[in-house]
Amino acid sequence: MVSTANSTSQYSTNRSCMKKFLALLIVAGLAAVTGCSKSSESSPGGSKKLTVALLPKSKGNAYFISCRKGADKAAKELGIDLIFDGPTDPDPAKQNEIVDNWITLGVDAIAAACENKEGISTALRKARAKGVKVITYDADALPDAREFFVNQATPQGIGYALMDETARLCGNEGEFAVITGSLTAANQIEWRKYVEERRAAQYPNMKLVAVRPCDDLKDKAQSEATALLSAYPNLKLILSTTSLGVPGAAEAVKQAGKTGQVKVIGLGLPSENRRYVKEGVTDSVILWKTEDLGYLTVYAADALARGTLKPGAKSIKAGSLGEFEIQGDNIMLGKPFVFNKDNIDQFDF
């Protein structure tokens, strides 16, 4: 660096000034560190309020907002602090980051709905290693990363509920068709297996005439349903095992002018189907009560943190909802719920 004597001296004062300033900042920072470590030692007192942290897959999702409603209610009844936080953007690492933050924050229990099964398990295992109680709900992590999974519905429960509702609407006899997400999707295959099992056992006069895939697209479901309507004139009901298939099939029935003549039911969100349910095209939508899922999850997390819920337990009591069965390490929410014209307005997810 070439410079005149004058500028060198100015340059060095410039630098030493900055050094002093930086030194001051560092000293202030260090003072704060030591100050804080003292205060953090003294804070954990005897009768501390329990803190349960609830992690949704994503925060803006109506499904999880509705879970939160139930969770808030449970937290109020139990007198605990509830933190509800989750990713707002589609960054898959965010859930891990949030869990890590909760560990340092010192929450007592974490209840997670897992977007990345294996990915989040590393963070949940770490939480368990640090003494935080971990349960999962809605979507499970790896079994060794949590103590319990609040299972909203078993494939059997879903399959049986769908078939029972189908038979009820058809008067226990006649032809029906199924619209599925894809022919290879594992969960859909399993649900159909239980639909068939129930049909064979309980409703031998019902006949499944066709299974059509819709690739989880509403307009594909609509064209498949239209084709079904013309191919099977005696069709009494279309059952969709995928959520976007229900409004798709409903639209097809409506446009074909067969409202009431061919019924539509399926697995789906009340919000996506409200219009058709009210118009009488779709008879019922089957899902679980998401509020109850949130409610039960918080009760389970609380019981686990207090030590009243232990591995091997056979049941758990959750406030106003009463007893829930535990199968292995799965806390069962119970039978799916049927949304129809009479009750669909009470649900906004």
Binding site: M1, F21, L105
Partner: protein, 343 residues
């Protein structure tokens, strides 16, 4: 320091105080004190390490984004490249049977190749980097999704590899030394070599740089290849931290990196900026994100405050500069040579 105030010599302390990095440092210290007062565990060592651990990948991308933006360019493809490298790393390890170390070396090579693709297209086609990297942004992510069909994920990595992302080495997060090494290397490259000076020259005036005999194409190619390699490194660390490689890894990271660089005082038009500014920018955002959790504030506030911080810091560094200029006009300082570099 390359802050081009008209008269940087007017009153030593004032220039230092009004320097962008200083203001950012103050903001960081204020943030720190505030969150420390509301969150009892915010200042703990554990939490400090958490902040560090979570900001390494974006920090790495921001570090290599700095020389790119200094040349007046931009690289939108680094986040997608992180995703592509993460799943290729997984493929090399699981399907090709390589050890994590070997797979890592290959992945770095792939990162260099991908960066080379950006560099070649930008220097040969002479198209704006914004457009080229917008293309590779989709290309790299699309490749990652095509290779995994959007569904395949890579997990069950050996513990020795996960150590890099999840454990501590000599008491500090294992990925921290790597980050520090890259930070020092990039700092030296930008602030202590003729390369660094040529990046700024290119950013100020590409034609001028060419007339001055700087091999503009080769210098530009260098920064994009560097970005590719470091994006691959970030992918490996990301995979080790999550224990999972999936095609959606690093979604949106390019924008976080650019935000940190701009917050750190680097001009988006090129020519002006510093690596330590970028580091402060990364830290300011990371502390804000983490601190809000400790203040028990909802996460969506973080986005809002990051935006506000960015706008404030940018205007905050312009206003004092204007004041300094006014002040120096009144004082008519002695003409002197501006110190070219200052840490």
């Amino acid at each position: 320091m390359a802050a081009p105030t008209n008269n940087p010599k007017s009153g030593g302390w004032r220039t230092i105080l009004f320097r962008h990095e200083t203001i950012l440092l103050l903001v960081l210290v204020l943030e720190w004190f505030y969150f420390n007062s509301v969150g009892p565990r915010f200042g703990s060592l554990d939490n400090t390490y958490d902040i560090l651990r979570h900001s390494v990948e974006i920090g790495l991308l921001a570090l290599v984004m700095t020389p790119i933006i200094l040349t007046g360019g931009i690289d939108l493809s680094v986040g997608s490249l992180l995703g592509l490298c993460a799943i290729l790393f997984g493929k090399l390890w699981r399907d090709a049977g390589l050890s994590p170390a070997m797979a890592g070396i290959w992945t770095l090579g792939i990162g260099a190749l991908a960066g080379g693709l950006n560099a070649t297209l930008i220097t040969w086609l002479r198209l704006p980097p914004l457009i080229i990297t917008l293309g590779t942004y989709s290309l790299f992510r699309g490749l990652a999704e095509a290779i995994t069909h959007g569904a395949d994920t890579f997990t069950n990595f050996p513990a020795s590899f996960l150590f890099l992302g999840q454990e501590r080495w000599l008491g500090i997060p294992a990925q921290a030394p790597i980050f520090v090494a890259v930070a020092v290397a990039v700092w030296l490259l930008v602030h202590r070599t003729t390369f660094g000076r040529s990046f700024r020259a290119i950013g100020f005036a590409p034609k001028g740089a060419r007339y001055a005999g700087i091999p503009v194409e080769r210098r530009i190619a260098l920064v994009y290849v560097l970005a590719g390699i470091v994006a691959a490194l970030a992918a490996i660390i990301y995979t080790a931290r999550l224990g999972q490689a999936k095609a959606d890894a690093g979604t949106g990271y390019e924008l976080f990196a650019i935000t940190a660089v701009v917050l750190g005082g680097t001009s988006i038009f090129g020519g002006v900026g510093s690596v330590h500014g970028t580091l402060l920018g990364v830290a300011a955002i990371a502390v804000l994100n983490n601190g809000l959790v400790h203040a028990r504030q909802p996460r969506e506030v973080a986005g809002m405050l990051t935006g506000a911080l960015l706008l404030l810091a940018l205007s905050g560094s312009v206003v004092p500069k204007m004041l300094t200029t006014l002040w120096s006009r009144r004082q008519t300082p002695p003409a002197s040579i501006q110190p070219t570099e200052a840490a």
